[in-house]
Symmetry: C2
Subunit: 431 residues, 2 copies
């Protein structure tokens, strides 16, 4: 079919009628499909079931120093877990703090700590500095934006490109506005675009000269080993680049096994300079006695090391890649050439971005929902839930079965076309 824009009003009307008939037909099928969240599929979770067998009642539950992991103690995590995450996050083991099951919780706590107590000894708490601001590369991760919104932090959108956030803008804000205290980054396979920051972008991050001494980069490396193609992206090591310039206190790095082992029962970690970690631990030691070290031991026994994790991720890839391929292939066949949408094609991660005609994202999501297919809410990937273009839709293809996903992708393509033809027809009629 020709590009929609080249169609006459009559041709658009005919196409609309055809699509509406197909839509009504699909509505009658009573579908109940979910592509809304970046959830691993049950088959992915099955990959880690062996972890339930590595510790039994006949095992001795000691970490490598001999400490009993069942009891209190070891606030910063068992040594072998700190080492495993150090390898994964490419930092030193004594820069790693291993927490509970949620890296989001570590990020929330880090924002909360800085709001309440300040980012470093002697710094005024963020919460007592009037209006403070975070930079938010967009589209980005809705839960990041949820944290900053909850704390009343003003959010400034920074456009993303395939090489990362617009660094001219980032430098302009960070280096000149002392109210800018942070930036949210998913540097590898970004949520939702699936972009990986270029080496130059990482170097420019390390070289920032913040107007605020208490500015911090929240580097959420959630997808560090989550490749899905034969040409995986590589991410330059931000901590190393910072150390070359003496700017390592500017960085908090987060990671977890939520999309490696169990999304509800994994292990999360954060890494930061020894100075930052000493400051954080001053409060963490008041917050809890220790996190779940048995689960930490379970993870290190099951994965052993980074190589073990890499081998495990190959199995995830075998389940995830066909799902990405299916939805991307359907878009290629059904939508490409119509001039009504563009999409990213990541080498890893959990999402890709589908950008429909401006003003159509909400309509597509609504049409899908009414046909039984739940997508991430339009606008969710933007601060305050508002996509100024109403164009971006986050596609999360990992959770449904291939059979369900095929159906969901069909519905998606149909709704993208229908929303586009509705818009173009109303423009044609108004002209």
């Amino acid at each position: 079919m020709a590009e929609y824009r080249t169609l006459t009003a009559a041709e658009l009307a005919a196409e609309k009628e055809r699509l509406e008939t197909a839509y009504r037909h699909i509505q009658q099928q009573g579908l109940k499909l979910d592509m809304s969240r970046g959830k691993p599929s049950p088959e992915q979770l099955d990959l880690s079931m062996g972890m339930l067998d590595v510790l039994t009642s006949s095992d001795i539950l000691a970490c490598e120093t001999g400490a009993d992991v069942r009891n209190y103690g070891l606030l910063e995590g068992i040594p072998e877990a700190r080492h495993m995450f150090a390898d994964l996050m490419e930092v030193d083991a004594d820069e790693v703090f291993v927490g509970g099951n949620s890296s989001l919780n570590l990020m929330y706590d880090t924002v909360a700590r800085n709001m309440q107590f300040g980012a470093a000894p002697g710094e005024t708490p963020w919460g007592r500095q009037g209006t403070i601001k975070f930079l938010c590369p967009v589209p980005g991760y809705d839960r990041h934006f949820g944290v900053t919104e909850t704390f009343g932090i003003e959010m400034i959108s920074i456009p993303m490109s395939p090489t990362g956030p617009d660094m001219d803008l980032v430098e302009q804000y960070v280096n000149h506005d002392p109210a800018v205290k942070g930036i949210w980054c998913v540097p590898k396979y970004s949520n939702p675009d699936g972009y990986t920051y270029s080496d130059e972008t990482v170097r420019r991050f390390a070289a920032l000269k913040p107007a605020a001494r208490d500015f911090r980069i929240f580097w959420d490396n959630a997808y560090c080993v989550h490749d899905i193609t034969d040409t995986p992206d590589t991410l330059l090591n931000l901590m190393d680049e910072c150390k070359k310039l003496g700017s390592e206190d500017m960085v908090y790095i987060f990671s977890s096994t939520s999309k490696i082992s169990f999304s509800g029962a994994g292990v999360a970690a954060m890494a930061m300079s020894r100075r930052n970690l000493a400051w954080a631990k001053k409060f963490l030691t008041m917050q809890t006695i220790s996190f779940d070290k048995i689960n930490q031991l379970r993870h290190t026994l099951f994965f052993r090391n980074k190589e073990g994790i890499r081998a495990h991720m190959e199995k995830h890839r075998a389940l995830i890649k066909p799902r990405f391929d299916l939805v991307l292939g359907m878009l290629d066949r059904e939508i490409a050439g119509l001039g009504i949408a563009e999409w990213t094609r990541p080498n890893g991660g959990y999402f890709f971005s589908l950008n429909v005609l401006p003003g159509c994202a909400k309509r597509v999501v609504a049409l899908c929902r009414e046909a039984g297919v739940v997508l991430t809410g339009a606008g969710a990937s933007f601060p305050y839930g508002v996509d100024p273009q109403d164009s971006n839709i986050r596609i999360a293809p990992t959770y449904p079965s291939l059979q369900d996903l095929e159906k969901a992708a069909e519905v998606l393509c149909l709704c993208v076309r229908l929303a586009a033809v509705e818009k173009l027809l109303s423009q044609a009629n108004a002209a």
Copy 2:
């Protein structure tokens, strides 16, 4: 031996010399014993090893609603865990939030939430009301006081008695001072006295008419099923009493399995009115996606219900009671009758209080430490770490083996006597 106070200076000097000789002898043994924290012994932790076998790779990891506990979701915990804690905490299941492994973390988060966002919709955050205050029954739990001190909350000591905190004082503060926002309570087998609040005390708590609408009782029921004698204490249900009077929004209840299953890898929960829980969840949903539900399922499968927990606690009792008996028996034999110390004799919990001659607690702890026996720091059970009498020592007899404990108790008794004789002798010499 006669009461020390009745001895002449010469008799005291002779006793001192005898004790010092014994002390030097013990110092040469190079002991390394720890009675400092309320840690379960390895044998206690062994009681729950079966929990590691209830979920294996061949099991289906679904909760009672069929939801996959391995994946994201169910922020407030799996239904069966909410039910189990509801039974344990004597509240309704929909008043329960099941969290991670640490009830201290739930308490810290609750204080942090109220500091940052206020205790209820429309209330000014605690952190923006100038100086606010917490009442602290003393002696009390050092980690409670650590949380309030960290947040800069002024702490007011309230004397404890065998029936609970001095309720006249509590009412005077709570009902008249709007800056008083909270009180820390360990209502059953209090840390460190082992006292249980009387029915009248609980009723007076429920009947408080706080000057501050955002006043909250932090009811840390850590030892709700931790009986160690045939005459266990019973605690009136505060939530029920509050509901009779419509004051249920005043109460946060906390509990955990840290001293039921694994202290480092248990499950913690909090209970509060539906209104309070809805407010808390508004922020918890920003903080994390969900806590570790596999560990929640492990616990409910292993314990089944409150009766299962009660049966399990009998096994703990069999290990704990001899330890309490040993130390208390040693004190009875070595110290009673000398008029130099008093101690509590709880029906449960993890601690008892040893109150030595005023001005002697720090000395006893130092003497013990120098003889290789670590006690909780003197003053730890008081706000800001200062016991105005320098008299209270928290005794935690659960962790050491009986053999080690006998040695440690010997050292303790010797040091209590030595510190007393030092003091009395210096008084006699000064007279």
